[in-house]
Symmetry: D2
Subunit: 172 residues, 4 copies
């Protein structure tokens, strides 16, 4: 056994999005998880259902590594595709830890909770990639700035492969 995380992986990506999703978003998210793992990115997420479960399931398909930061005290509450469970029983404040655990943030659809995570990613200076081909906050906010504190924008991407290409560009 040799667990040399730092040399095996290029970085950690915080994947954020809603806990209830339709079939289309589930398939896109699964594909994103698969591609992230294949491209040697660790996944950090909220560890529950919806986007969080689909991205972990995709990652495990490629033997990726998944971290789930859950808003509960008991580790058993995480979805079964999470390798490392971090219980953070602080209600919406757990979203801050999800964002900070990544080296970049990838938003897929999402409601108000996802928008709060995009705000944190912006405030804490994480590069942000937003899927613009689905409904919800990831498309509404794509290619914009949240305020004038940063030079860059929230990068809109159309497809899972575009998201990976952008991440590979950022972490080459």
């Amino acid at each position: 056994m040799n667990v040399d995380i730092k040399s095996k992986f290029k970085g950690v990506i915080s994947v954020i999005g809603a806990s209830e999703i339709d079939k289309k978003i589930e398939e896109l998210t699964f594909e994103i998880g698969r591609l992230l793992a294949k491209n040697r990115f660790i996944i950090a997420c909220g560890g529950l259902s919806g986007v969080m479960e689909a991205v972990c399931r995709g990652a495990k398909e490629e033997n990726g590594l998944t971290i789930g930061i859950i808003p509960h005290t008991k580790k058993i509450m995480a979805n079964k595709y999470v390798d490392i469970v971090i219980p953070c029983p602080f209600s919406q404040a757990r979203n801050i830890v999800v964002v900070l655990s990544g080296d970049a943030c990838l938003a897929i659809s999402g409601k108000a909770g996802t928008l709060s995570e995009i705000c944190f990613a912006w405030i804490y200076q994480k590069p942000i990639i937003a899927l613009s081909s689905v409904k919800g906050w990831s498309s509404k906010i794509a290619n914009q700035k949240l305020d004038n504190r940063r030079e860059d924008i929230i990068y809109g991407v159309e497809t899972p492969q575009d998201a990976i290409d952008k991440l590979n560009e950022l972490f080459e």
Copy 2:
């Protein structure tokens, strides 16, 4: 001395906005603080500078009551118009406590931090009023919904008096 808070006041309003503001926003915010106190609302805010200081300064002009929830460990860090200091040294998570301490939320201008607070107010089912006559997130988000979990919208208001009228309507 008789401190009968519950019968003296109609409710607590979380006032949110940027820590750096121009003269125009400062004057509007001071007026909002003054009117809130005069109309027997307690003010909860982040306790620091900008909108947070101007609203407390306005409230104290009318002998109002102000609560400042600061992201530091030491109470001395609050602005001098805060009566009750609640240190909440949890970085951006302190914003959650600001929002939850109010019975409604009033947004004045604001950057990404304010937008995250609007998200929390939305998630935690607080009525939200947003000043639409100033730049920043309070005008961008006015008269919209953040997602479909609520029937109501973020109420846009033009002037300090409009904000008070709306609050009096909500808390009559």
Copy 3:
């Protein structure tokens, strides 16, 4: 109406202890609340039952001011003697906010949660007074130091009046 908190009160005392207490501790705690209010101290506490309720009930008997920092999102969860409710839905982390909101800490009996609060009061350099005449951590830890970072000790006191005398000495 004139709410000049700063000139009316000498300081804020964080009162900590168990949420389930026997009749003897309830009476002692009520008396401590009454004396704190009479001596112009604001009370900060966890806002729920047991010591938290008894101390607020005592304080309101003398028209005192009470702050309840509760580990829930909804303000309605506080006991009815709390004037100002601060929801801090962060599980045990709410204990940190309870301790930091006071200028000193007063421990009455208590289990592991109270001991964690005594630890925080020690770490954040708050003077600590512990009732030594009742079972639980307040007597076990009285007249000791938690470690060598401070010169002072946790001051053991025998009666409610002794607690007030010590606080008056600290905040004269």
Copy 4:
């Protein structure tokens, strides 16, 4: 590459202790880290110096897996033996996340911060092992109960091997 965390490891142990330690405690902690990794336990800790660094350094000697939950926003603040950094910028509240991330808790020496973590481990029903052969809270609290909510005690152990034996017994 195959990162099958769940089948490779027996559990996660939260290792807690002071950030400043003497040579003797450093050596004991390094040995504990080495043995934990060798016995297929993942290490969760506070990710900074002292006990946190020594246990991670020991674990990496045996190609173990280490998680560091740091009270800062920037991942770079973790010690260099941490594989997975979880930023939790919530002051002492980060200690809660350290404890909850483990399936059991192992205390080595320690001051008031470590005692607060022992309290959390007790409250959240984690088995607790305390090294009784060194100064500080791990020996003071060994073989005791913090209150009557649990049937078990804080298990005192004399040596690193005793600690591992106890953990193997708990997680066989």
